[in-house]
Amino acid sequence: MSNQCKCNCGGKSNAFTQLDEILSKYQNTKGALIPVLQEAQSAYGYLAREVVDYIAEKMNIPVSQIYGVVTFYSQFHLNPRGKNIIRVCQGTACHVRGAKAILKAVEDNLKIAAGETTSDLNFTLETVACLGACGLAPVMMVNDDTHGRLTPEGITEILDKYR
């Protein structure tokens, strides 16, 4: 409900200077919610609760509706993202070649579930429906690097390169 600043600044500083600039750019544009969210996310890395509340207030859109939009599109993130983004393919080809076991190996290694981020913010783990590299199945990407013909045993070695 309240959009008061939640840090300890006592409301003196405006943490949303960047956001204000984004909002003012779109203030006369109808249907600008998605571009505002995209730019806010690229400015802050993710869409923090405070950011969503602030956008809701300034754009006069119910916060429940913005939450609906943010959770509908996979491009938006409500939690901080890791330095390294792991995307484990769960497509048909990977599935028949053991993608579930690969995902489990990564989850066990990072001690997080798919969709989560490690507490040190080093890794975010996601699943994708197909990476278009079916010949290499099972496959995953870490940032822009493609790793194919994976085995559960080989996962630790790959992840260690990013630690």
Partner: protein, 574 residues
């Protein structure tokens, strides 16, 4: 109105051009099954149960969102249609918890009804089940997303009817849910607890919090003196919940049933509604004469009070400090009544029967302990009382009528009309007019403020003083008028606001009715009670006069201030 010609199931019909196919089929006497569609909410076409064939269309169409056109040929009944409808319902059931027998909405569930109507005899799919935690976070409503069929009616009721926008669809595909922002409990978002979402939910996904267990327990405890008050709007809806036609007035049967259930005394909230008029009327006159904050706004509807505290904290001075009738009653039960009846207030349990889910939250507000005890211990809704009556095996139809107990069962017609939009205003005007002029009011029916119109206005000449009043119901209309006040554009003296459509008679705790005109029938019942009353002005209630003379002193006096008035504060929910 421009009409179009169409053929429905072989018959020729003329229907208004702006109709949907679904509306047209109603004219044709066809009952196309619907689930996500609600007669009072914008159609969305989410569930596809209402599919029909349109000649020339490539596939079946959702009749609730498909507009009619000239020459359209519609078929509502074919093997393909029946199979499609059955399939839709079967798929909904595939991941629905099949616990109907122990569900609160058992026998009152639209999904259950539709499964029977479309002829589901087996569920061929054993789908993945949802496993969401229960939202039990608040005193009024319980949300079980596992029972949600994602029809979106609650979203529409909360936004279109109430303008509060608590709910939205979230996520995608199988994971789609209907949740408040950030998937929080209702206690953490700007929910007013009005319960309109529960009253449009077709399944048990949003239900009224059931508080009957502690009441049964109190009734079974011989050491407790259990007193009950019944709100005005309950008497015109309880019968409906027990199989009688909408609007049936069942005051006497209800009193009899409550006595059978074991309540020691059965009192009437109408009594404290009369008292509210004495206090609120005096407050209004005081504000008018002494330059107080105007317009003064009524504060009987706790959904509305929550709304004001959440969205208009800067305008709380406009709210009457008079407590709602429920809370005035509660404050008196454990003081005045306990003294009169020579009871230890510690052994008195105060129960109220309300048409309202927000009343449950009102009763547990920290400040509602004016008597030194919890003023109202338990709040049950009309539907919970109906359930108790059924559970006790009381045959409501055969009950002989009984009368309320004295002294807090004595009330006037002005008290009973609190149950309908415009009633508080009318009751106040009946008393305030006589207090201003000192003369007896001849015509006491203020018909301009009655009825289901969203915003009602009237200008009255009371003894040479012009008094401008407005009456609004639903929170969407409340928002409109509050924005006007905030902008300095509302030149009213007195405004009545009730959160629910039609006032308390349309409350979230009332039986769910899909009859289009059920609210009007309940309203008619309320005014029938008023006209049949021998006394129809609050200040002429002999029990109220006696209360002031022997115990309370003057309206707005010291004792009143302590027991009958309250204050409001901004609510922070997260």
């Amino acid at each position: 109105m421009e009409m179009v010609n169409m053929i429905i199931d072989g018959g020729k019909f003329k229907v208004p051009k702006n109709f949907t196919i679904l509306e047209a089929t109603r004219i044709a006497g066809v009952k196309v099954p619907t689930l996500c569609n609600h007669p009072e909410l914008r159609p969305e076409g989410n569930c596809r149960v209402c599919v029909v064939e349109v000649k020339g269309a490539r596939s079946l169409v959702a009749s609730c969102v498909y507009p009619v056109s000239e020459g359209m040929v519609v078929n509502t009944n074919s093997p393909a249609i029946r199979e499609a409808r059955r399939m839709v319902v079967e798929l909904l059931l595939a991941n629905h918890p099949q616990d109907c027998l122990s569900c609160q909405r058992n026998l009152h569930c639209e999904l259950q009804t539709i499964a029977a109507e479309v002829g589901v005899r087996q569920v061929r799919f054993d789908g993945e089940k949802k496993n969401y935690p229960l939202d039990n976070s608040n005193p009024s409503l319980v949300r079980d997303q596992n029972k949600c069929i994602v029809c979106g009616r609650c979203i529409r009721a909360c936004s279109e009817r109430q303008g509060v926008h608590v709910y939205s669809f979230a996520n995608r595909g199988f994971n789609t849910t209907v949740v408040p922002a950030f998937n929080q409990g209702l206690d953490k978002v700007s929910c007013t607890y009005c319960g309109q979402c529960a009253s449009v939910c077709p399944t048990g996904a949003i239900v009224i919090k059931d508080d009957t267990a502690p009441v049964w327990q109190a009734l079974a405890n011989p050491a407790k003196h259990v007193v009950v008050q019944t709100a005005p709007a309950v008497r015109v809806a309880l019968g409906e919940a027990l199989g009688m036609p909408p609007g049936s007035v069942v005051t006497g049967k209800m009193v009899a049933a409550l006595k059978r259930l074991g309540f020691s005394k059965v009192f009437d909230t109408n009594f404290s509604a009369d008292l509210t008029i004495m206090e609120e009327g005096a407050e209004f006159l005081d504000r008018l004469k002494n330059g107080g904050t105007l317009p003064m706004i009524t504060s009987c509807s706790p959904g509305w009070v929550n709304f004001a505290e959440l969205f208009y904290p800067d305008l709380l001075d406009h709210l009457s400090t008079a407590k709602s009738p429920q809370q005035m009653f509660g404050a008196l039960v454990k003081t005045y009544y306990a003294e009169q009846a020579k009871l230890d207030p510690a052994n008195v349990i105060s129960v109220s029967i309300m048409p309202c889910t927000a009343k449950k939250a009102e009763a547990i507000r920290t400040e509602m302990c004016a008597s030194g005890y919890r003023d109202v211990d338990y709040v049950l809704t009309t539907t919970e009382l109906a359930k108790m009556i059924q559970e006790a095996g009381i045959d409501f139809h055969f009950l002989a009528e009984e009368n309320y107990d004295d002294p807090m069962g004595i009330a006037t017609g002005a008290g009973v009309i609190f149950g309908a939009s415009g009633g508080v205003m009318e009751a106040a005007l009946r008393t305030v007019s006589e207090l201003i002029t000192g003369e007896e009011l001849e015509c006491i029916d203020f018909k301009d403020v009655r009825g289901l119109k969203g915003v009602k206005e009237a200008t009255l000449d009371i003894g040479g003083t012009e008094v401008r009043v407005a009456v609004v119901h639903t929170l969407l209309n409340a928002r409109k008028i509050m924005d006007k006040i905030r902008a300095g554009e509302a030149n009213y003296h007195f405004i009545e606001i009730m959160a629910c459509p039609g006032g308390c008679i349309g409350g979230g705790g009332q039986p769910i009715s899909m009859t289009n005109d059920f609210r009007q029938k309940r309203i008619d019942g309320i005014y029938e009670c008023d006209t049949k009353s021998t006394i129809r002005k609050s200040h002429l209630n002999p029990a109220i006069k006696e209360l002031y003379t022997s115990w309370l002193g003057e309206p707005l006096g010291e004792k009143s201030h302590k027991l009958l008035h309250t204050h409001y504060h901004q609510q922070y929910r997260d």
